[in-house]
Symmetry: C2
Subunit: 333 residues, 2 copies
């Protein structure tokens, strides 16, 4: 059918972070019709800048549907991005995010704001200052995909900067950032702890004995993980651990410490709070976090991945961006 | 007096670490007659290797006193050094270190062993595996310079890998390593936290408000410092802290967390244990640690610096290396 007009595309959704750009063509039922990805994170845009990246990655879609709206989330809306989208204060849900979209001039593109808590200008009291950008959209997607999470739930979003997020009545009410992924990466690459392991060491295994021993060690420590880091070296030098296990152990220490803090171990536990715990992340990292949570007695954990497209779709819907492309309301109206 | 034989030189003392080589000519009363330094740490030895470094830095002294014995401490005795000097187990004092000296063939040079606790082959039970190399010699020097520390004391040795060391009856009985200095360095140079501060930012001030606020924040935290690291960024993004203060704050967080752990805060305090606390380190770093200790209610803190030469002198004396050069016993005997 050479003249098939194709499925009813409704939205171009962009997950545009620090190290990559993922683009999705989304149909009228929120279904992903096509997807593309480029390594054009905001820290490594090619010559031509953000506009050229946007034009190139969306070209095949816009060639066919010239008036398709686009919505982007992630660091593209930061001060280092294309257009800064000011943070939306907590509590923030899909409606608040949709109300805070910032347009990019001349591109038929909007950007989702990040979320802030504890901002000086609107001090909320006890909340520790914190920010997210990109995760709010994954959260909107998770809430859309799992309506049971709306009322009250806790989301764990592992990554470079892991977020633990409390949800109430469909909105982000509180969150905390743990630099676990970044600390692991810089210690592995730049500290004496990385030098013990073979240069071609595989990524830490999510269920190795060394990883779980690291989790347990951090869980049972009287103090924080900083006092334990050197043990990744000392255990090798004293013959208690093979050098090849040191990165698994270090990963376990850092993730175990994160959980000890986030779960208020030993005085409290997520399992006791009654909040269902859901991990949002890629399967390998999610498996590591799930195995670590089990060491804290938390066994019932749901896992979601790739929720950003659904989040962009639902935010676009809440903002009234959809249904404008066939034909665009601005022309038909 | 062109023919003045000079003072009675007795020992060449070498403090030979990862990044530098410091050499001292020591007289019969343990006094430093001359000193030299080169950036020839064991990770950056010039062509010719360790022997050439040793020959070059000691040449002027050995040209005059060819049979002067030399004693070295530090990473030069590690597996990556010149000759490996096996770790001496805890409890270890000057006598045990002296008994463990390892000769370097053909160089009239000996190397001081490091100290180990919790080695698998001789498990001491509850002691966490840990190692030191170089600090044991500084400790021997501190004990010689401050006899009041012999009976029972606690030493704090800030640096890349800060050591907290308990002394009883003149021997190292227990110690713990904190990677505070290295973690600060890698986070500053390689993580998102370092990007906030101006590239030419001065070193963290030992008594700035941002530093002390970081100390207090770590001290009062319910959990470890890893959960607080991102606050160094979030506080800037939320308008609560100028970007220029972020490194001072980060330094305070890391040092405060170290003290929270080492002092078993809040359940115990060094001031309550009755152990006098002594910092051994360069004045700028010692000032930072002293200011941080004050935030934990520890006000009585002695500070020593540059104790390695005295340590080498006393270990050499205990090993019977001294008194051999005028004339050397091997020739006169």
């Amino acid at each position: 059918m050479p003249n098939d007009p194709g499925p009813p595309a409704q939205l171009i959704a962009l997950d545009w972070g620090t190290s990559s750009l993922r683009a999705y063509l989304i149909g009228g039922a929120g279904d992903i019709l096509d997807r593309r990805a480029e390594p054009w994170g905001i820290m490594q845009v090619p010559p031509g800048g953000f506009a050229a990246c946007f034009d190139t990655i969306t070209f095949p879609w816009r060639a066919r549907w010239p008036l398709l709206p686009a919505l982007a989330a992630g660091m593209i809306g930061s001060a280092q991005g294309w257009v800064e989208a000011p943070y939306c204060p907590c509590p923030a849900g899909t409606a608040e995010l949709a109300a805070g979209l910032v347009p990019v001039a001349g591109a038929n593109l909007w950007i989702v704001p990040g979320v802030v808590q504890g901002r000086a200008a609107a001090d909320t009291g006890s909340a520790r200052p914190d920010v997210m950008r990109g995760e709010e959209t994954q959260i909107a997607g998770a809430l859309a995909l799992r309506p049971t999470l709306h009322k009250a739930s806790r989301l764990v979003m592992p990554g470079t900067h892991c977020k633990w997020v409390d949800i109430a009545d469909g909105r982000i009410v509180r969150f905390a950032t743990y630099m676990t992924g970044e600390v692991f990466a810089v210690l592995r690459q730049h500290s004496i702890l990385g030098r013990l392991a073979p240069a071609d060491a595989p990524p830490p295994s999510p269920d190795s004995a060394a990883f779980l021993h690291g989790v347990d060690t951090a869980r049972d420590a009287a103090a924080g993980v900083a006092s334990l880091l050197f043990s990744a070296r000392a255990r090798v030098l004293t013959g208690r651990m093979p050098a090849a296990d040191s990165l698994d152990y270090l990963s376990g220490l850092l993730i175990g410490d994160e959980m000890r803090s986030a779960l208020h171990w030993p005085s409290g536990m997520a399992a006791e709070t009654g909040l269902p715990l859901t991990i949002i992340g890629d399967p390998a990292l999610a498996a590591r976090y799930r195995n670590a949570l089990a060491r804290f007695g938390v066994a019932q954990v749901d896992v979601l991945e790739d929720t950003a497209p659904a989040g962009l779709w639902h935010i676009a819907a809440a903002a009234g961006l959809l249904g404008a492309a066939h034909p665009p309301s601005g022309i038909a109206g």
